[in-house]
Amino acid sequence: MYILQAQDIYKKFNSTEVLKGISLQVEKGEVIAIIGPSGSGKSTFLRCLNRLETIDRGRIEIQGGIMVENDAGGRAVYSSEKDIARMRQKMGMVFQSFNLFPHMSVLENLMLAPLLVNKADPDQARETALALLNKVGLENNANSYPFELSGGMQQRVAIARALALNPDIMCFDEPTSALDPELTGEVLQVMKDLAMEHMTMVVVTHEIGFAREVAQRVIFMDEGLIVEEGKAEEVLLNPCQERTRNFLSKVLMAR
């Protein structure tokens, strides 16, 4: 049973085709890492999965609900806003640039969506938020404002904020790319903990080490296509494709 299915996704920005027929099936509890050079379309693909970008062609199904599929003419047609909102509720998203709300305290950042969107009970929402902060190791920063925190701490808050809606899938768009190297570890650790709890995760990343250690499946994308995919060890240690080998040698050399 797939929790998320994307089939033959095509997307153009103006006249540039950035996704040229990408398909992905995600099973419950699976951790998938998407790697590839800049401009390969990996972030765009992830953003299409929860409609931060709209697709031109293809089909996306989330937990049995159809978010978008082709009409008879082969053009993508989205479901009603209401249905899409329901599907997206179950998908958490973590951005490269954290995107915390700077005018709200950490606790308010976490409680906002549960209160506004889920109409949660305030006491309950606070309790959940504090438990999540505890989980990401920031229980002492509930009343801090984002600017007072390091990048790594901000990203951990962002992860906790996404978890506050109790998602079934977590999407990460280069979650450590904006961080100083010494701060990536604490974020990756939180993500590892999530993986241990069998959270379903799709992670766009440059962290090959993390992909190898945590992901069950690795997808290598280049120029809008999936070049190679398979078990993490196979793709990362023993790639079949020349392009994958080239990319990996460059990335690993740079370390």
Binding site: L52, M93, S97, N99, P102, V117, L165
Partner: protein
């Protein structure tokens, strides 16, 4: 000194007219400016275009002319409006145009990521605007709005052209009658007092919102 004291009753009376004008214009122009700023960014193109035209018209002509238009211009086509009505129409519509531009640019200065984060958390467009975007916009626009408010203090002097006895007109009447510049100096002090208060208020507002960046 004695002469200054004899000036006070009419100067103070003029000052209350100025103050009343100032506050009433602000009360209407500020919210109108917010709404117009949002409207200029509307996805409904005719509305956005209308707002652009509006801003061009009201920012592109002298407030003095607009004042004359609302009073004498309407009279010419047979619409008699009260002098106060004409003044409020002119000032509110003019200041709303300037403020709309400030709020529009403020809204556009908020990073795209803020909208995206609100979007993936399931907030509606209205919730995104009221809970996420506008609170941050208000902090960012404090300095330019402060400028406009200080301008408004001084622009109130323009209403003398339709013979409303505000502060500067009261001063002029005395100056002409008594052949002295002292009333103008007194009027200047009144304006400086008002702008000092406005300046301090905005300074306080900025410090109040200094708890985040």
């Amino acid at each position: 000194m004695e002469y200054i004291i004899t000036l006070m009753p009419s100067m103070l009376k003029g000052w209350t007219v100025t103050l009343q004008l100032f506050f009433i214009v602000l009360i209407f122009a500020l919210p109108l400016g917010v709404v117009m700023g949002i409207a200029r960014l509307s996805h409904f193109k005719p509305l956005a275009w209308f707002m652009e035209l509006y801003v061009w018209l009201f920012r592109g002509t002298p407030l003095l002319l607009q004042l004359l238009f609302w009073y004498f211009g309407l009279m010419v086509i047979g619409l008699r409006v009260e002098r106060e009505t004409a003044v409020y129409l002119a000032f509110v519509l003019n200041y709303a145009a300037y403020l709309a531009e400030i709020f529009r640019s403020g809204i556009q200065s908020i990073e795209k990521g803020q909208y995206e984060a609100a979007d993936v958390l399931g907030l509606s467009q209205r919730q995104t605007m009221t809970k996420i975007i506008l609170p941050q916009v208000f902090k960012r626009v404090i300095p330019p709005v402060g400028n406009e408010v200080i301008n408004l203090v001084k622009d109130t002097a323009l209403v003398y052209v339709i013979a409303i006895s505000e502060l500067s007109r009261a001063a002029r009447i005395h100056a002409v009658r008594d052949d002295t510049l002292i009333p103008f100096a007194i009027a200047a002090l009144f304006y400086l007092l008002m702008t000092a208060v406005v300046q301090q208020f905005f300074k306080w507002l900025e410090s109040r919102l200094d708890y985040y960046r």
